[in-house]
Symmetry: none
Subunit: 401 residues, 2 copies
């Protein structure tokens, strides 16, 4: 019996509202020993007040010591065990550019490369061709025509683009064609599972036609395919939790991840203020609201401590508008830590705050890494946050008699 | 390698004594923000003194956010993963009324119902027939006679009774016969697994004869069967831990749960004082003593904060008699929280105290929810309590060289 089997069996519907505010990469590190983290440095009077009222703790995104990408980071917060539900690289890339994958789709990361007259690769990244040159070429590849299969090609950046093959009987198990070396030809697409023989054939045909279309190009005259993957088979929020859920996000990646678990993507917000307006407009229509804020992560990735502090204060600033709606459960956390000192995602537990009427408050006086160590949630794997949210919302029956 | 494989392999026998004092539903919530829980309000000088001397923490009965019933709550405390060992509803019901299930038994929850002359159900609960009327009818059903199968019928309450079928080749996989609707006849018993074809046949014969016996009754002239289940196959304390264990409980449910893991049920105590006397009398005969106190849960279920406080003080009062026996390991905890404010079982971690010579004391000054957050046991799943008890009793060897 796993957690989703439990929540399927125990779920109860009621009128409660749950808000999950994700400040991407929220957790941090002090600039020097004995100092304060970005979150501790930031003036966050609203979150501090809620920390006194609610219960805090540290969310471990995957397992202790594991630094997650956005995919596993968010799956954990959504309550999907990130070690059980793996999103293939192609599917994640397609999701990241906002491509809505369907049930019969296979997504592939593709690289432009350069081959010589004998067919051997001379540059695996086509001289890191600039996006201005590569994007029109990717779009030109939409001319590829394969009977019985719909082919989508989407530019990404520089030498990278995405191919989605849509058709019946296409498995997601085909090995990468990039030989990871120059002086040799690209590998032929090869099924690693009998369910993907057709995918391998279609991929080979795609490459053949792509070479014809790209013939004569000085840099990008061929391509390699990597991370071939079917749409991940994630059960929906509606099914596993009984929640009508929506996502209020700015960036395609987070909209895409939310879409994979069956959330509706609402609004066209570009700023946190606009996101709050979308939240207010949709308050009556949903049970669960995932609000994503990107810039605590991107400033951390930039190694810019002060900018991350400022962005954290921006998150705090939106809290009163959320609380004015009187959610039954309000959660603020991150999908992982992104300490400016590391300028990268990290493994450190993420400060987490849950506010609900019966949450059993602890003695935390403010919202920050050190205070969360004293929190009543303790340190917990992110995947348990949803069951906690559901219980606090009165949406889970007792297990067993 | 799971925990039971470990404890089987590493167990050591010695003369140590372990006492597990379970105050059912021990954990609670404050009556108002900033207030104290039932346990924190209660005067518990004995447990407070032990909290200074021992190590505290918060026990998560099943997983974060999951509120367990008595079955999974106790299985966790006994060290049996409650998500792995599921007790069927019929088996739990039989256990709850003190029926000692055997290896060849299938237990069934049965409901009296009313059918009309065409055989359609007009009332699924036989007009909620009072126990005074239904109990004699249940006992009358003991007249059912099926060759090769022993049939037990036990009254429960109102329209409910328990049927146990004893015989070889009886599987526990038969679907409920209650159609969950009126105006239709009861469903025929149907095996959901080939191992239970015989059970379905026997159940059909039971219903046929029951209808004959009940013919002419104004309300209870038929019955439906639900929660058909074989005796759960739980390894014994003796086998997994090397412990001679006994249970000192008042209520049938807890005696029954202890019996399922192979504990002896000792004494006929009706009060905590009498339970202490039974403990003293049996001290030499066993290694492990499970003492169950019900009223911290029942007062919580009643939503009676003050009564729960008083019952908690009663638990504290018995502690000196336990400690006078000088157990090597003393544990006080609950199978789950039952906050008076919720008047129901809840998901909140349960205050837990373990006292042993080498337990590595923490800085907890008293026994309560907030203090336990600072405890040396941290927050842990209940199923790990038994390995901790065994280690503290010197009953587990080193794992690996």
């Amino acid at each position: 019996m796993d957690m989703h089997q439990l929540t399927r069996q125990l779920q109860v519907k009621n009128d409660s509202k749950i808000v999950l505010l994700v400040a991407d990469g929220l957790g941090g590190l002090p600039q020097k020993p004995g100092g304060q983290t970005e979150l501790e440095t930031a003036k966050t009077p609203n979150l501090d007040a809620l920390a006194k009222q609610g219960v805090c703790g540290g969310s471990i995104p995957v397992k202790p010591g594991i630094s997650p990408g956005s995919g596993p980071g968010h799956l954990g917060l959504f309550g999907y065990d990130p070690l059980q539900y793996l999103i293939g690289r192609g599917a994640l890339e397609a999701t990241g550019i906002g491509f809505a994958l369907g049930e019969n789709d296979v997504a592939i990361r593709a690289n432009f490369c350069t081959i010589d007259s004998t067919g051997n690769i001379t540059d695996r990244r086509a001289g890191r061709i600039p996006t201005e040159e590569s994007a029109p070429l990717a779009i030109k590849l939409r001319e590829v025509s394969i009977p019985g299969v719909e082919v989508f090609v989407e530019p990404v950046k520089e030498h990278r683009f995405v191919v989605v093959l849509r058709g019946s009987g296409l498995g997601g198990n085909v090995a990468d064609t990039d030989p990871q070396a120059t002086g040799v030809p690209p590998l032929a697409p090869r099924a690693t599972n009998p369910d993907s023989e057709k995918t391998a054939e279609v991929a080979a045909e795609f490459i053949k036609q792509a070479k014809e279309i790209l013939a004569g190009q000085p840099k990008a005259n061929c391509c390699t395919l990597r991370g071939v993957s079917a749409k991940p088979n994630l059960p929906s929020y509606e099914e596993v939790y009984g929640l009508r859920a929506c996502a209020i996000a700015v960036y395609p990646m987070y909209k895409g991840l939310a879409r994979l678990v069956g959330m509706d993507i609402v609004g066209q917000a570009q700023t946190l203020d606009e996101q709050m307006a979308v939240l207010e407009e949709n308050w009556a229509k949903y049970d669960f609201f995932f609000i994503h804020f990107k810039y605590t992560d991107s400033t951390g990735e930039d190694g810019n401590f002060d900018a991350k502090v400022k962005r954290t204060e921006e998150v705090d600033g939106c809290v009163p508008r959320i609380m004015a709606l009187k959610p039954d459960v309000f959660i603020c956390t991150g999908d992982h830590s992104t300490p400016s000192m590391l300028a990268s995602h990290s493994w450190h537990p993420v400060p987490t705050l849950l506010v609900a009427e019966h949450c059993r408050t602890d003695s935390c006086e403010s919202f920050g890494e050190q205070e969360c160590l004293r929190g009543g949630l303790g340190q917990f794997e992110a995947k348990y946050l949803m069951p906690l949210a559901l219980s606090n919302a009165g949406r889970l029956n007792k297990f067993g008699a």
